[in-house]
């Protein structure tokens, strides 16, 4: 019962191909965009909301994207605007970056190398090598999304000590990833 393709379905095919391109570009870059957003919007859930809005805007405006230019800076530009809107709406928070810094950071992220999937695989492996207590802390911070004093309460310590412990665990993980990938992940420490 299949009929010969008519004009409307050809347009659908083109749209489908364009969407596939968008899918590929987005899946290659979305974590960098998320990383940028999270570095400015600390709260995980608010950051996720901003990512959603960014993703929607990227999809809507994809026809305007000049494919001869790199995708990440373009997407980060959209993300930056969404971030600024969110920060303005939550301007009661004292500890947020100003407009200039938000813009500067979007440029910083645009220049980061995008081989992020290798990093994730290495990181996943490194996490499995951690001691039980360390993994527990990471779980409380990153899965249960607890604030510092809740983590402190859960582990019977202080917020400061918990923060320091997380810092050291991340340092260990960074060194581990670095040794696995052999890349110079400049990150201080």
């Amino acid at each position: 019962m299949s009929s010969a393709p008519e004009h409307p379905s050809e347009t659908a095919t083109e749209r489908f191909a364009s969407r596939r391109t968008l899918n590929v570009l987005w899946s290659q870059n979305h974590l960098m965009v998320l990383g940028y957003i999270r570095s400015v919007v600390i709260d995980f859930h608010m950051a996720d909301d901003v990512l959603q809005e960014t993703a929607a805007a990227v999809a809507e405006r994809f026809d305007d994207y000049d494919s001869s230019r790199p995708f990440l800076p373009w997407a980060l530009g959209i993300a930056r605007n969404k971030v600024l809107v969110t920060l303005r709406a939550n301007s009661r928070d004292r500890c947020v970056f100003d407009h200039e810094l938000v813009t500067q950071l979007s440029e910083t992220y645009a220049e980061l190398e995008t081989s992020n999937n290798d990093v994730q695989e290495a990181l996943s492996d490194c996490v499995t090598h951690l001691h039980r207590r360390a993994r527990k802390l990471l779980e409380l911070r990153y899965v249960r999304d607890l604030p510092a004093n809740a983590i402190a309460q859960a582990t019977g310590t202080t917020a400061g000590a918990a923060g320091m412990a997380l810092h050291r665990i991340r340092k260990v993980l960074r060194d581990c990833v670095q040794s696995k990938l052999g890349t110079a992940m400049q990150g201080g420490d």
């Binding site: 299949s2 489908f16 968008l22 899918n23 987005w26 899946s27 290659q28 974590l31 960098m32 990383g35 999270r38 995980f44 909301d49 959603q52 993703a55 929607a56 999809a59 500890c95 500067q104 950071l105 980061l112 992020n116 999937n117 990093v119 994730q120 990181l123 490194c126 996490v127 090598h129 951690l130 001691h131 039980r132 207590r133 993994r135 527990k136 779980e139 990153y142 899965v143 249960r144 607890l146 510092a148 004093n149 309460q153 019977g156 310590t157 923060g163 320091m164 412990a165 810092h167 050291r168 665990i169 991340r170 340092k171 260990v172 993980l173 060194d175 992940m185 400049q186 990150g187 201080g188």
Partner: protein, 606 residues
């Protein structure tokens, strides 16, 4: 956040400042100001910060992925005694995620690299010192973390674009799920294929490059079947049976996301944990078969056909056993019990276009009559899955004249006992039903009496219906051809068509009785002119548009037979046995439209 300021040494160490900022412990305005001025001071400091923040972001993805994996069978677990999630304790297990994570960590710690262990031990020593002062408490009950409530997070976050048109309608709460990031970490540059296309029938794929054939390998990504049916075997072991139109995203060898349409998932034991996400919820298979039907964007119904599943909503999970069904709204928040209807779904890819066409119309009973010649009973598909004995003289396994490969038919020669289907309330029909079949007509042109294809004639009271053929001898009038289609309600009326049938020829025939009781006859998919004769009337008249009460058929309480009338107690009506072939007999408990009959006929020609 009123936390004590961190150690003043932090002022000297930008890395610590980054960490504290990312953990949200940098609340003192002075510390924050120092941090900001460091960031603004040079692009290098921003680069350093960005690296730290990327680690932080990656870490969240990795931790959540690791956490989710613990609830399912690991694909690469060596031992066969995999951990199964007991559906009765799902909530408890989610609440005790800490214990499960600890067990897994203990095992991993034994293989820990020396450097990592030493550094982590230092962190632990610091905590241990503090623990000596305060006894560690079990964490207070924590609400199920949001990420765990929808475990089938997209492996390719890009799949969120497939529903991009409906974004604006969704609440932000629900859209967060896609932002958690890839659950399965794979290099996107060359995604490995994860599934194989199996059988298909009349499949029309939305794929610019053309048809996807059997054995084709599929990569993660969207799949859309516009028409027909197809089976996809995922590498993890699960099979999905797709009924077009349907669209879904293949996420990994053990996860798919349904975005629209109807599918059945069949999951053998080795693929337990297979997950379908739909809207804001997901269904985790625990060794079963289940069907999921999504017609409006995001709202879906899930029917457990066999075994059990865990239905994971946004904020809780519930186990579902075979025979139960739920309707879930698009946000994944609300689920309500609905009547389970296993016949909503076609559970295997039909073998022929005709079978697909009939099954899509949801027959009450559909006898393919494809049995081999040594088989002594015939089986029906559809709402009624019956097994009925083939009587003496009713030969299965005859070569069918239709072009479909491996198709067989019922051959009826001389005197025979037909097939006794028996009595079923679902087949006791009077209004709003349809009968369809493929037949080879009797070899003689002059029919002294009718020949019945299917009949439920019964006496005391005279009741039941029959579809068959008859000729002008029966009609007593040369207005009718020597052989034509006849539909009878016993004791009420005969409806005789006016288009002739040739002997020993194959035809598609159908009779539709609408909800008011008006009969329509079809030959080879076309509505044919017909006339009716009742008990009271002197002859044949055209079928009236409005059917009067004296044309209402009575429901038979006796058995249904294929190939002849049921035996008469008093001998008042003869067997009127069919001579020729009968194939693909279908009975529907609704009146199909002319378009339906035509499209069924067309499907049978392929």
């Amino acid at each position: 956040m009123a936390t004590p300021p961190i150690d003043t040494r932090a002022n000297d160490d930008p890395a610590l400042l980054c960490s504290a900022y990312l953990d949200g412990t940098l609340s003192s305005e002075d510390d924050f100001a120092i941090f900001v001025s460091w960031l603004k001071s040079s692009p290098n400091s921003r680069k350093q910060f960005a690296h730290a923040a990327m680690l932080h972001t990656n870490l969240q993805v990795v931790m959540q992925h690791n956490d989710m994996r613990e609830f399912f069978v690991e694909d690469n677990l060596a031992d066969a005694s995999f951990r199964m999630v007991d559906p009765r304790n799902i909530r408890m297990m989610l609440d005790e995620a800490a214990e499960a994570a600890a067990k897994e960590s203990k095992k991993a710690a034994r293989e820990a690299a020396a450097i990592a262990a030493a550094a982590a031990a230092e962190a632990e020593r610091l905590q241990a010192e503090e623990q000596r002062n305060a006894r560690p408490r079990r964490p207070p009950p924590i609400e199920i973390p949001r990420p765990l409530a929808y475990l089938a997070v997209t492996a390719i976050a890009a799949s969120l674009f497939f529903a991009v048109s409906s974004w604006k309608e969704r609440s932000s709460y629900q859209t967060q799920q896609a932002a958690v990031g890839p659950a399965k970490i794979e290099p996107v540059a060359a995604p490995p294929s994860i599934a194989t296309v199996g059988k298909s029938i009349d499949a029309v794929w939305s794929n610019a490059k053309g048809a996807i054939g059997m054995g084709a390998r599929l990569m993660p990504g969207p799949v859309r079947l516009d028409d027909g049916m197809a089976e996809i075997a995922l590498d993890g072991g699960a099979r999905v049976i797709l009924e077009g139109p349907v669209s879904l995203d293949l996420l990994s060898s053990g996860r798919v996301r349904l975005t629209q349409g109807r599918m059945v998932a069949q999951v053998p034991e080795e693929a337990i944990g297979f997950t379908v996400s739909a809207g804001g919820a997901s269904i985790v298979d625990l060794g079963t078969e289940f069907g999921i039907d999504m017609q409006r964007e995001g709202d879906f119904g899930v029917h457990v056909l066999d075994g059990e599943v865990a239905l994971k909503l946004k904020e809780r999970a519930e186990p579902l056993l075979a025979g139960s069904a739920r309707a879930v709204d698009a946000s994944g928040l609300v689920s309500r019990e609905i009547e389970a209807d296993r016949h909503t779904f076609i559970r295997r890819v039909p073998a022929s276009s005709y079978e697909l066409a009939i099954l899509k119309s949801r027959p009450t009973a559909f006898w393919r009559l494809n049995e081999f010649s040594n088989e002594t009973s015939v089986k029906s598909l559809g709402s009624l899955e019956l097994s009925s004995p083939a009587g003496a003289g009713a030969h299965t396994g005859a070569e069918s004249r239709r072009s479909e490969a491996d198709n067989r038919a019922l051959e009826l020669l001389a005197k025979h006992d037909g097939i006794n289907v028996g009595y079923h309330p679902g087949l006791a029909l009077a209004n709003g039903f349809t009968i369809e079949a493929w037949v080879v007509t009797p070899p003689t042109l002059e029919l002294p009496s009718p020949k019945r294809i299917i009949s439920s004639f019964s006496e005391s009271p005279d009741s039941g219906f029959a579809l068959g053929v008859a000729g002008h001898a029966f009609a007593g009038s040369n207005d009718f051809p020597s052989m034509t289609l006849l539909f009878t309600f016993y004791g009420v009326y005969d409806c005789l068509a006016k288009v002739g049938l040739r002997p020993n020829n194959m035809y598609h025939v159908a009779a539709v009785v609408d909800d008011q009781g008006k009969p329509s006859l079809f030959i080879d998919g076309e509505l044919v002119p017909a006339a009716v004769r009742g008990l009271e009337w002197p002859g044949y008249r055209p079928v009236p548009e409005i059917v009067s009460s004296d044309m209402q058929g009575l429901i038979s309480r006796g058995p249904l037979f294929i190939g002849r009338n049921p035996p008469s107690q008093t001998g008042i009506y003869p067997p009127e046995s069919w001579i020729g072939q009968i194939d693909e007999v279908a009975v529907f408990d609704k009146a199909l439209s002319e378009e339906d009959i035509q499209s069924h006929y067309q499907a049978g020609l392929r």
